[in-house]
Symmetry: C3
Subunit: 356 residues, 3 copies
């Protein structure tokens, strides 16, 4: 299947790529090696020696360079072979490894897999994740046995929450009847739900002034290509505006491994109880459990039932709750088609502002 290439995907959590590690992961079907230079900068290259195709992650790091384990060809961060111990030591012109531009931001390492020049400006601004103490934010990684768009569907249509998830994030049936506001730009799809409930959402209730009383709530989700969803949730009581209420600013982002397997990355920053490391760890684990144990079986079941990644070919029955997810699918399909036609390709400058 075709992927959007000239764009940023999350390749790894920052913490996954240790100082001395040769980290490797398959991204869009391609094996990628990632490691850190001595100055801490992360670099990425194809995890394949151009000589006899040995995985480079089996080798070792010398300074900022990589030595292939099979025949000891050495490569620098630009992928250029710098040492050939064989024969007279001549370095063949073709002895280069493909490299991939990286950016390390918001606790993630982002990778650019396309042929065009990487455009740092195309990375959406998720700086609120960085804003606050480390005990107020969590990042995690989950491997999912399903196509990445099925996970986007799941987050873009939050009406599933009351049906799939447990008490902790239940809206007590409020969410499904709401037709969310949906807004589409050249490079984003946005949806917003607003409602009242008593008691408030449990994960927030304890931090509101009156945990047993009615609260106003909202969910915002903003999808940006290829697979980033910024989700905000909030609660407030009385006349308090949402801006002064309690809430969280999350990022769900998925990176295709293969057509039917996905790297699922998640980060969450909250504005309350931000110095409680135990609560922080507990909350992150609860979110992982919700995705892996509650969404996971359904999404895997859908993938198996579909026996394809071509969602629309199966004639889904679409409803009011599907509008945002369907728009994101259709916009992504247009961007991929446009890229394949070679008509411009990079994912439109609008990307830089749509998330603002």
């Amino acid at each position: 299947m075709a992927y959007l290439k000239n764009t940023w995907y999350v390749a790894a959590l920052s913490t996954e790529v240790g100082a001395d590690e040769l980290f490797h992961r398959k991204i869009l079907g391609t094996s990628v090696l990632m490691y850190r230079k001595q100055d801490g900068t992360a670099v990425a290259m194809r995890d394949r020696c151009p000589h006899r195709f040995a995985p480079l992650h089996l080798g070792k790091k010398i300074g900022d360079e990589i030595v292939c384990h099979y025949h000891a060809l050495q490569f620098d961060c630009s992928g250029q072979c710098t040492h050939n111990p064989h024969g007279e030591g001549n370095i063949p012109k073709a002895a280069k490894v493909q490299t991939f531009p990286l950016q390390e931001r918001y606790g993630f390492i982002w990778i650019w897999m396309g042929d065009e020049a990487a455009d740092p400006g195309l990375l959406p601004d998720y700086s609120p994740l960085d804003d606050g103490p480390p005990t107020g934010v969590g990042h995690t990684y989950m491997h999912m046995r399903a196509n990445y768009e099925l996970i986007i569907d799941n987050v873009m249509d939050l009406s599933h929450i009351d049906h799939v998830h447990g008490e902790i994030i239940s809206t007590r049936g409020q969410l499904s009847p709401i037709v969310p506001q949906v807004r589409e730009t050249e490079n984003s799809v946005f949806a917003r739900w607003e409602w009242k409930q008593t008691p408030p959402i449990l994960v927030l209730a304890g931090f509101l002034p009156h945990p047993e009383k009615e609260a106003r709530h909202f969910f915002d989700v903003t999808w940006m290509p290829p697979a980033n969803i910024q989700l905000s949730v909030g609660g407030a009581q009385g006349d308090t505006p949402f801006e002064q209420g309690v809430g969280a600013y999350d990022l769900h982002t998925t990176t295709p491994e293969t057509e039917t397997s996905t790297h699922y990355f998640f980060a969450t920053r909250r504005n309350h109880n931000t110095h409680d490391a135990d609560f922080n760890a507990m909350k992150l684990q609860a979110m992982r459990d919700a995705f892996e144990k509650e969404d996971g079986p359904i999404i895997y079941g859908v993938q198996e039932e579909m026996e394809t990644t071509d969602f629309f070919s199966l004639n889904p029955v679409l409803m009011s709750n599907d509008v945002a997810a369907v728009r994101a699918r259709r916009l992504l399909a247009r961007l991929i088609a446009k890229e394949e036609e070679g008509a411009g390709g990079s994912a439109a400058p609008a990307a830089r502002t749509a998330a603002a």
Copy 2:
């Protein structure tokens, strides 16, 4: 591969589909949900929500209806969506799940996967299975990693018994030299072996007047499409006619899961020692062991060696013992071809009488 569609297959043992269960099984490559209404009637529908393709068996039953676990669409037994909790609750016209006619008979739930109207009259009459106390009959299910026709071959050619199976059903070499009587009708293939042996077949010997002496024996097998084989075995001594001897009335029936995996259902009713529950359980387990541990490895080996389901394409060397199995294969192939041509399709009224 093509299957005969407008016909009855066993979908489950009656006991597999409990009162509160959402039972699911892949049949002819299609995922099927089965459950019981409050009045006990079994119903079947495609195990896939038409909305986003979640497996319905992950959901729950409310009264006689099914609620999808993903977004809580509710469906009645006819597959009609009866409740949509989203937005204004409109029910899209296309929100229907395909259903499959069932009949529950002889301890099995039979399913009709074809497009034509289900014809109850096409279900062969296996009522002798019902005739007698519950301690005189056993039903069981086995999952087999082989094409269903390889299992039909196995039962239609009983000459394998002395070579594959142990003492309990050994004919002590009597069976192979016999060329069975074979009879073919428009909708059945029948074979019969008759012989004498001393001592009698062990599983029957103890219930004959003279367990150590010679007995007359017979095996009858009657295949009817798509995959039902009624097998009778009997023994008698002296002038006693078979009708007054000891014997069993069995049904072997197979349902394709995929091209190379099969649901194998078996039932056996005997006319002796019919109130002995321990013997009943022991005998059923012995039969399962014979199929799974003795036939199984050979049939799996054949499937792996074949690397196809097209038996005749491999030019098998056919012998006198293959006549019944080959006729069943050829008749089934003609019925499938006829169905695919759309020339009539349903498996001929003759089915109603052939087993009589």
Copy 3:
């Protein structure tokens, strides 16, 4: 993929096929049964009954014949059916199993899978393996999850030794800078490395006059089609010629199981400490460990990265150390192409002398 057919492959270690065993192995994608006649001669036939395709290895041996477990057809060593217990016992003309010529030499059973008449003269002469006491030689088998040519590459380019393997066979960096002498004949590719090192190669050092002092060393590898590599290693000190030094005469030979799995056979004969059974066992285990634990992960990684068996299609960057391996690949490709054209086919008489 295409294999060279009219040639000898190793099918098994002699010790793998016991006197009472029905040994089976997939060779070039075909299931093969091997067993020994009462006189000890090994025979091979397709592991598939021509009747209903049951694997013959599930059956039993009676004298020199094989009885199929499913319906007891009996076959002699020529593959001819000699007994049919069914009906009147007529033996169908087509009731024959394909047989394969074998030769048992040098501790291996060699098989000819091609359609042309087997030519014993095409088996290279590896008689030095037989020359000496049993405690001076070892034979072993390893199953590898990679295409067989990747293993040939590995042995034909010994420059990998210092990078992949441990101290025991290290040349301390001497090997990579050497451009080996390479010689190609009509039916072989030969490469030789010669160098000095201090201390000598550890596996030989203890058997040289001055274990701590400099030694002269050589490696010779001679590939012959389809997949045989005779490797000799030696060491000598002072004026002693290599012929009077210490060394080993090894055979690496690979047999395709499937496109991406291989039977790897290895034998090693040494000229020193030849009566030490413990050392013999220890050395063979050390060699196995080197192949399985050191070469194995790299070769498997290469296979996974390649996602094909067509090495040249991936545009490898070839260097001076690849000359011998590449010539062997290209010569083998020419022989396969020639065989497929039917232009002569058998792997040229030159084979008989090239190893001499």
